[in-house]
């Protein structure tokens, strides 16, 4: 890797990291697992004067149950790797959507290095984890010079690699609800198993015994400049019986209101088509499992 020159800091605590970022503001960037930022630096597509490496901040790597019971939550430190999420027995039993999604991020090397917090803060429009976070309606804890604040997942992703974080803030924790009555699923269209999503659909569904949709949230990635909630599709399913016709009709709204991306792998038409197919299949699969 041959980046331009930058100064490197390895703070040992979150507060130290925040104070470095607040001193250097836009000229600095925090580094988590390095699976995105390093590539940008390598190609000199990004340049910065100060790199704040968070790897030494042990306090940001954990997965723990905050409160048990039906309204319980699980907290995940921002520096927790995909591999740790994938392997976590706690998450596998109480929030399987995260391990399932983490298991299809990149390849083994990426999963060993890349972190949940890094993925969200980088906000690649085709990242896998943001879709899951949206579907789970997670809450994100942010540390800044003025202390900490919480951001709802829905309010976090603003645009192409743009989030609600200000340059001197660090995403420190992701808190997800335990949803024992929901079925969750992540489905991804990708040219190769290790690729970014052409379309990724994360689904959180609570259906009644008669297959009535009681609660649904759908996170979509890979489709537009940012991951988003498919609100219109959710609306069309809410309270409805999950029958093929209804699912299809709701799926047709999956890209409603978004400006669909186009690149060499998928035109906007094809991407919209894939999004419809994948959301239909995800819902159908969730129904079968219920």
């Amino acid at each position: 890797m041959i980046p331009s020159k930058f100064e490197y800091f390895a703070p040992a605590s979150l507060s130290e990291a925040v104070s470095l970022l607040s001193s250097y503001q836009e000229e600095a960037k925090p580094l988590a697992g390095g699976q995105s930022l390093i590539s940008l630096l390598k190609l000199r597509l990004a340049s910065l004067n100060y790199l704040v490496d968070l790897a030494g901040i042990a306090e940001l790597n954990y997965i723990r149950e905050e409160s048990a019971g039906p309204s319980g939550t699980i907290s995940i430190g921002a520096l927790t790797t995909y591999a740790q999420i994938k392997e976590s027995e706690l998450l596998q039993s109480k929030c399987p959507l995260l391990p399932q999604t983490a298991s299809v991020v990149g390849d083994v090397q990426v999963r060993n290095r890349g972190t949940l917090g890094g993925s969200l803060a980088h906000a690649d429009p085709a990242g896998d984890m943001p879709a899951a976070i949206l579907a789970l309606k997670a809450e994100l804890k942010v540390a800044g010079p003025k202390g900490e604040r919480w951001i709802q997942a829905d309010d976090f992703f603003l645009g192409m690699m743009e989030t609600a974080l200000s340059p001197d803030e660090i995403l420190s924790e992701i808190r997800v609800p335990v949803l024992p009555d929901h079925k969750t699923i992540y489905r991804k269209a990708a040219r190769r198993p290790s690729d970014f999503a052409m379309v990724g659909i994360a689904l959180c569904l609570k259906a009644g015994d008669d297959q009535t949709c009681e609660e649904i949230s759908i996170g979509v990635t890979g489709v537009t400049d940012k991951p988003y909630r498919a609100e219109e599709t959710e609306k069309r399913l809410q309270g409805k019986k999950l029958e093929p016709k209804i699912i299809e009709e709701a799926a047709s709204a999956i890209v409603q209101g978004v400006d669909v991306m186009e690149n060499m792998h998928a035109s906007s038409d094809f991407r919209s088509h894939l999004a419809r197919v994948y959301v239909s299949r995800a819902i159908a699969a969730a129904c079968i499992r219920s």
Partner: protein
């Protein structure tokens, strides 16, 4: 083929899957690649064109030169003044291009300025300080753009963007058309893809100021030709240039023409008091390293109603981008085996190479043969469908039969051995083809679409370099040969130095097996130096690793040199033991009497005479036990347009593939992948298996994933591995491999080409399987790669991919 008993005294090693000797060292990170060489170097970075076509109006490097740590700078115009233009191998039109852009740039990524600095970071920083003014010119990207009458000219001196236009006809094509019941025609587009070796290009150049000479360390795949090209381009005598090739991490043809960069490094080295090093980045490699050309092929098969093919016409237009050295060579290689495994008695070919603003093209694994077999094997399916024949049946009706071997194609290519019908038969039964067909019908009823694809491919090896005569007059190189030095050292151990190089093919292991069986010693006592030093290695203009020549001429040279050493040892032993040479045999590292094995002298004792007690040598025997041999395959014909062979050995294989295609998402999933492969006698079945599977995976990548995409401005869109999609293990089939062995009569060991093979048959097999799956929708596969988007679109519109 020689009587193997004349070559081998034991049969313990050749033919066994001996574990590769090279691997442990490389896997443990103990390899010595160019970048590992411990030298105090200046580091080089290249400023590359950001335009596909532009006149250069100004290059100002003064700020870069002033940057602390920058040692030297050379720019294109300066290089052009000091060098000769790049030599062209195949094209016939004049096209002057230098190793760096001088007056204008012709592709994005073309080198413009080279900077040497104390470290690579400074060198890269310096690039940002170089001021280049471009005057953008209209851009030519695709073949049809290049062929327009008013197309902008990329090389004005050529007067056109067509740099080669050749027509070749063998047999009576007019008669074939007249006798035909029908002519099956199709038009194919094959995309631009490439191999991407793990190690990119890397080189170090050192200028010896004392005698104005150069030493270069580079991962060059073809040192024989590179040495000549570098010296000629620089205008220096051969003895002022020494090339050393250390470990090299993968080649696949892509390192056959790195020499233009060696020229640039030499010019920089002249300005610097220490060696200069350049290690190509992946981005540089994907931008302007080298690709296989995309092409446009029209094909016609005049045939009888019963499926018999009477003739074959192709019009092949190759998009060779902007690199005049290798432009045009693909068409001629496609042409050579255009009849594939079939007995077709008349051929006509029109071969066109166009220059465009895509990146350079160079030989990539199979060089045109994957395309030719793709086109031909697609045509077999298309013709079968047209005639209501089974794709299996049409192949059986046209195969060259075993009794016809050796079989000479209309243009003079000689297929020396092989049993094509049996190979197909075997592949069908191994794959359970008939059972799969039944399953296909049942699954279709359930809305699942399975497809079966067959491809029977010819896999030629050992290039007869004289074939360029077909377009360029008497060629500079003819035939094919290689050199080897084999010596016995003081301890009676064997050491081998080759004229060729290795990029990971396992040459050393195979050579060791051959020598162990020739001399009856344990392979551990044989050392093969896979590196090359032009000062000591026995190289020829042909030297290098390409066209699957190793098993033929490289081993031929090893065998001949080993025989010389063996004969000399026997002669010395005869003197020592007082026995006639005819009464002696080699046994376990010694020469002994055939009658009385107690009468024996070890190799070490013989070496002691040869190297030390030379007064005890028999009269007329020179001291030393080191022999050199060059071996040529004598089947290479001399250049002639009427009768010539392009390759000298011909392996063959059949691939049978079953896929499932998801009609809604366009995703292709493998259900079965079977290969029956015939590369003559297998010398190391483990290596053959590894190469065949690796090569097949490359073909699968070409069929489904890999593509260098350019936009209408000639900007490359696939300049990283995120967008240039090599296959990954997930999503690939488990490949079942079986073998036939039809020994080659014209190589010493009966061995034939292996290495390119899988990449040749697989592209067609996968494409045929996908089309078969899509047949209820009447979709035709005529372009590559087969992407999900194309599949869905074609199914929706019921048309062509």
């Amino acid at each position: 083929m020689m009587n193997l008993d004349e070559i081998f005294v034991t049969r313990n090693w050749v033919g066994k899957p001996v574990r590769r000797d090279e691997d442990i060292r490389l896997i443990k990170g103990e390899g010595a690649y160019v970048d590992d060489l411990d030298m105090d170097c200046a580091h080089v970075a290249f400023l590359r064109s950001v335009y596909a076509h532009a006149r250069i109006t100004k290059i100002d490097t003064s700020k870069a030169e002033a940057l602390k740590g920058v040692i030297a700078v050379v720019s294109g115009p300066e290089v052009a003044k000091q060098t000769k233009p790049i030599v062209a191998r195949a094209i016939t039109q004049p096209a002057i291009q230098y190793v760096m852009a001088d007056k204008k740039v012709r592709y994005v990524g073309e080198p413009l300025v080279a900077v040497a600095a104390e470290d690579r970071y400074i060198a890269e920083d310096a690039l940002e300080l170089i001021d280049v003014e471009y005057e953008p010119l209209p851009v030519v990207v695709e073949i049809e753009d290049a062929l327009k009458n008013d197309s902008p000219l990329i090389f004005e001196e050529a007067g056109s963007n067509v740099l080669l236009h050749d027509k070749l006809e063998h047999g009576n094509m007019d008669a074939a058309y007249q006798e035909a019941d029908l002519v099956v025609k199709e038009h194919f587009r094959v995309h631009r893809y490439s191999s991407t070796p793990l190690e990119n290009w890397a080189m170090i150049a050192k200028h010896e100021k004392g005698n104005d000479s150069f030493v270069v360390w580079a991962n060059d795949q073809q040192p024989g030709r590179s040495t000549t090209n570098v010296c000629n381009t620089l205008g220096i005598p051969n003895n002022r240039f020494r090339l050393i090739v250390p470990d090299s991490g993968g080649g696949f043809g892509i390192k056959l023409a790195i020499w233009p960069y060696i020229v640039i490094l030499c010019l920089l080295a002249k300005k610097v008091d220490k060696p200069v090093k350049w290690v190509q980045t992946r981005r540089e490699h994907l931008l302007g390293g080298s690709h296989a050309p995309d092409c446009d092929v029209e094909i016609e098969l005049p045939m009888k109603k019963d499926g018999k093919i009477l003739g074959l016409f192709i019009k092949d237009i190759e998009n060779d981008g902007s690199f005049v050295h290798t432009a045009g060579i693909y068409g001629l290689i496609k042409f050579a085996t255009m009849v594939g495994c079939y007995d077709i008695r008349a051929t006509r070919a029109e071969l066109i190479s166009v220059v465009t603003q895509k990146g350079p093209t160079v030989q990539n694994r199979g060089v045109g043969k994957p395309t030719m077999i793709f086109v031909l094997e697609r045509m077999m399916d298309i013709a079968a469908k047209k005639l209501g024949l089974d794709p299996v049946e049409i192949r059986f009706r046209n195969f060259v039969q075993p009794k016809q071997m050796p079989y000479t194609t209309p243009s003079g290519e000689i297929y020396e051995s092989g049993n094509y019908p049996e190979c197909l038969q075997k592949a069908l039964s191994l794959s359970g083809y008939n059972e799969l067909k039944k399953q296909q019908m049942e699954m279709r009823k359930k809305g699942k679409y399975i497809g079966l694809g067959i491809s029977a491919g010819i896999e030629p090896g050992t290039s007869n370099l004289g074939y360029y005569y077909t377009s360029r007059g008497v060629p500079e190189y003819m035939g094919n040969a290689e050199g080897a030095i084999v010596s016995i050292d003081y301890d009676g151990n064997v050491n081998v130095v080759m004229g060729s190089v290795d990029q990971g093919q396992g040459h050393a292991t195979t050579i060791t097996q051959v020598i162990a069986d020739m001399l009856d010693i344990h392979p551990e006592r044989v050392s093969v130096d896979s590196h090359l030093d032009s000062l000591v290695s026995p190289f020829l203009g042909h030297s290098g690793a390409y066209s699957n020549k190793f098993n033929d001429v490289d081993l031929g040279a090893v065998i001949m040199a080993t025989k010389k050493v063996r004969d000399k040892m026997v002669r010395i032993a005869s003197h020592m033991l007082g026995e006639e040479t005819g009464e002696l045999q080699l046994k376990n590292g010694a020469v002994c009497s055939s009658k009385d094995e107690q009468k024996s002298v070890s190799f070490q004792e013989i070496a002691s005479l040869a190297y030390k007690k030379i007064l005890l040598l028999p009269d007329g025997v020179e001291p030393g036990l080191k022999e050199i041999a060059y071996y040529k395959n004598s089947m290479a014909k001399r250049p002639s347009r009427d009768d010539f062979n392009v390759q000298i050995t011909h392996s063959n294989s059949v691939h049978v593939v079953a896929v499932e295609v998801d009609m809604e998402t366009g995703e292709v999933t493998f259900l079965k992948y079977v290969i029956v492969h015939d590369c003559g006698r297998q010398l190391n079945p483990g290596i053959v298996e590894g190469m065949t599977i690796g090569s097949t995976v490359h073909g699968i990548g070409a069929a489904l994933l890999e593509e260098f995409v350019y936009d209408e401005n000639g900007q490359p869109l696939s300049a990283s591995f995120m967008d240039y999609m090599k296959p990954v293990a997930g999503g690939l089939p488990r490949i079942e491999l079986a073998h036939m062995e039809s020994p080659c009569p014209y190589t010493l060991l009966g061995s034939k080409a292996v290495g390119e093979g899988g990449a040749i048959g697989s592209v067609a097999a996968v494409a045929n399987a996908v089309e078969d799956a899509l047949s209820p929708f009447h979709v035709k596969v005529v372009s590559l790669p087969i992407t999900p988007q194309k599949v869905v679109r074609a199914v929706k519109e019921t048309k062509e991919i």
